[in-house]
């Protein structure tokens, strides 16, 4: 038995060529009344989307911004109609799309609860019965007789949420509304969802909180550009979605790096053979750029992930190799390789070079390759930048690449800081947890 069924649903939004500003007069004068009502441009928000939500299940719709999630929800809620295909919903729906839509600012919370309840399909008597529950749920007992315009946005949302959830719908549609309150309120909302599930009601959740999807949902569908990209077990769908998001980030990081390198190149003085040798006056303030005599030149840089593939996105704990291709114009016996790792705030997370690590240079000639390997990238999630350099032992720069290379570290754990030391927790048997933890 399905509570919601979408069969080959397409939704095409029409963009009217300047219709927004078309006037009745011009429409009449040009006899274009009918023509203006016809679309000049169309935008497919959903294309051939099908999914079924079995009764009593909790179902998630995930996807990037603009992927059609909200449109899908509006179709299910019946607010808009599909251009093609069919949408079928069994039972009463309550949509938590915009909380407190229809609250009138001038009248009291109490009166708004009644009117909002009636809008959502309750009778006066049903609201009377549930009124205390609603007010207690919203934690607004003291303020319920104050006009809603005096409420904070949090109070407003809580009251809206409380009314909507007490409508006792058969199908509850929820869009990113769990962020309406503090921790305590969020937990209450989650408890309410669980209660819903226990009572065999259907919940359709549209969210970016992927953890919630994995923990709460029985099924998930992933929309991408208005099409179903994945469907099924939430863990699997979320995994596939995250991979796609990473690929997107990968491209972004690659583009950032390419742009930085290109700009650094463009800043070189025009006269060949006389590249900027001088270091910026204050190394700690230097912005991204490139300088040095180029007697030894870094000709190529690649970041390699644990699988041996070039990448710009890494996971905490993964292996990271930085491969430099260098070229010495003349053989030299005075050289050092250095790297610096910075986080997005510009804090140097780590810096080293072959000189401080007491490697005595003997000879470098022609083309060479240098690899710097970090076996376990113990950084927390974030964007990081690299300094890479070849210089003399006294610091005279051959080729200094400042913050030109960007990469991203991803982590499923929400720990904070910069560095994640390898660690473990140990407990005496009197301390117990329900789950074994994410097992870092």
């Amino acid at each position: 038995m399905n509570a919601i069924e979408l069969a080959n649903v397409s939704k095409i939004y029409r963009r009217y060529g300047g219709k927004q500003f078309a006037t009745l007069k011009s429409a009449l004068l040009q006899r274009s009344l009918l023509r203006d009502l016809r679309p000049s441009e169309t935008f497919p928000a959903l294309t051939d989307v099908s999914f079924r939500v079995p009764k009593g299940s909790t179902f998630a719709v995930i996807g990037r911004n603009g992927s059609g999630k909200s449109t899908a929800l509006k179709l299910v809620a019946g607010i808009t109609k599909p251009t093609a295909g069919s949408v079928r919903v069994e039972g009463r729906i309550s949509a938590l799309i915009e909380l407190g839509a229809g609250f009138h600012p001038e009248i009291s919370g109490r009166e708004n609860v009644f009117i909002n309840g009636i809008m959502l399909g309750l009778t006066k008597r049903q609201i009377h019965e549930r009124f205390d529950d609603i007010v207690d749920f919203a934690e607004l007992r003291e303020f319920i007789d104050a006009p809603v315009k005096t409420y904070s946005s949090g109070m407003y949302m809580r009251l809206g949420f409380a009314v909507a959830i007490h409508v006792e719908p058969d199908v509850l549609l929820v869009v990113e509304v769990l962020a309406v309150g503090d921790e305590g309120f969020t937990h209450k909302c989650l408890d309410k969802f669980s209660e819903f599930r226990r009572r065999g009601k259907t919940v359709l959740l549209v969210t970016h909180s992927l953890g919630l999807v994995e923990n709460l949902c029985d099924d998930a569908v992933w929309l991408e550009g208005g099409r179903v990209q994945g469907h099924g077990d939430p863990k699997r769908v979320v995994g596939a979605y995250l991979t796609a998001v990473e690929e997107g980030e990968q491209e972004l990081m690659a583009a950032t790096t390419a742009k930085a390198v290109e700009e650094a190149e463009a800043e070189q003085p025009a006269e060949a053979g006389a590249p900027a040798v001088d270091s910026p006056p204050n190394m700690f303030q230097a912005a991204e750029g490139r300088w040095g005599s180029r007697e030894v030149e870094i000709v190529d840089v690649a970041l390699i992930d644990g699988k041996g593939e070039p990448s710009f996105v890494f996971h905490t704990g993964e292996r990271l190799e930085i491969r430099l291709k260098v070229r010495a114009q003349h053989p030299t016996d005075d050289f050092a390789f250095g790297i610096g790792l910075f986080n997005a705030d510009g804090v140097c997370c780590y810096g080293t070079n072959t000189f401080v690590e007491e490697m005595d240079p003997e000879r470098l000639s022609g083309d060479a390759e240098v690899t710097f390997t970090i076996d376990s990238l113990d950084l927390v999630e974030g964007t990081y930048k690299l300094d890479l350099a070849v210089h003399k032992r006294d610091g005279y720069p051959y080729d200094y690449h400042r913050l030109l290379y960007t990469f991203r570290v991803k982590s499923r754990t929400r720990d904070v800081g910069i560095y994640r030391p390898p660690h473990r927790w140990t407990f005496s048997p009197t301390v117990q947890f329900k789950n074994p933890g994410s097992g870092l």
């Binding site: 078309a22 949509a95 229809g102 009248i107 009166e111 009117i115």
Partner: protein, 264 residues
């Protein structure tokens, strides 16, 4: 469509609570509060009386006092005109509801009409008071026609309100256009002049085409003039026409319904 019309009856609880909300919210925070619903028409009546007795004295026979005569037409006209103005913007003002909640859009223009009807009703005691003070006791038999006139006006106004609300979503200029049309319409209706003026008689057919003429004249005959109402045939004909208009308007509204959530 008739299923939807049936729904309209189901929404009566919603309509009722929205109308009371509008009325409550309107005077919230003002010192006189609900009392304004009586004070407003009273002040209007006093102003008209002053103008047409002192500033521009109108001595036309049979319509004295002139202020009270005009008020018989102005009160229903105010209901009519403000209803249409409110209704034409109602879907846009209620955009949040239409876009975010499954909400029967036709409720909004009807609430505009009904809320203004409430204000009309609050003005009636003032009107009756002045009628009695000035010696125009409405005939009891005539008064039977009064609710009928109100009903006809309600259906007529609701029909127009639905059309305007639906079209304004697509053509925003209607709101500005409407304000001017209503001003013209007001002066084209025998409200501040009696219908039996020779100039009006000359173009009687033109005035007969104006639906509000029949409402205004009916109100005047029921409330102000002595003798039985002579205009009842017109009133009933308008009633039938209004019903047809309402059904047509509802059909149009229903046709455009799906475009509201996107165009608002």
């Amino acid at each position: 469509m008739f299923a939807n019309l049936n729904n309209l009856f189901r929404y009566r609880g919603l309509i009722w609570s929205l109308v009371t909300r509008d009325l409550k919210a309107r005077y919230r925070g003002s010192v006189l509060g609900f009392f304004w619903s009586f004070v407003n028409p009273l002040l209007l009546l006093l102003i008209y009386s002053f103008i047409f007795t002192k500033v521009l004295p109108n001595e036309t026979k049979g319509v004295q006092p002139y202020g009270v005569f005009m008020f018989c037409g102005i009160l229903p006209w105010t209901w009519f005109a403000t209803s249409l103005t409110d209704a034409s913007g109602s879907l846009i003002a209620g955009g949040n509801l239409i876009k975010k909640v499954l909400f029967p859009a036709e409720v909004l223009p009807l609430v505009s009409v009904l809320a203004n009807m409430a204000h009309f009703c609050f003005g009636l005691p003032i009107l009756f008071l002045f009628l009695i003070v000035s010696g125009h006791y409405p005939d009891a038999l005539d008064l039977v026609w009064f609710p009928i006139a109100v009903l006809v006006q309600l259906v007529f106004t609701s029909g127009l309100a639905l059309i305007l609300a639906a079209l304004t979503v697509h053509f925003r200029d209607i709101r500005d256009l409407l304000a001017n049309i209503l001003t013209l319409w007001f002066f084209a209706t025998p409200i501040i002049y009696p219908v039996f003026k020779p100039e009006v008689r000359q173009y009687k057919w033109l005035f007969d085409l104006n639906p509000f003429t029949h409402l205004a004249v009916s109100y005047q005959e029921i409330l102000f003039f002595n003798g039985p109402i002579g205009h009842w045939r017109w009133l009933l004909a308008l009633g039938v026409a209004s019903l047809l208009l309402f059904v047509a308007a509802y059909w149009l509204f229903d046709r455009l319904r799906d475009s509201f959530a996107e165009a608002v």
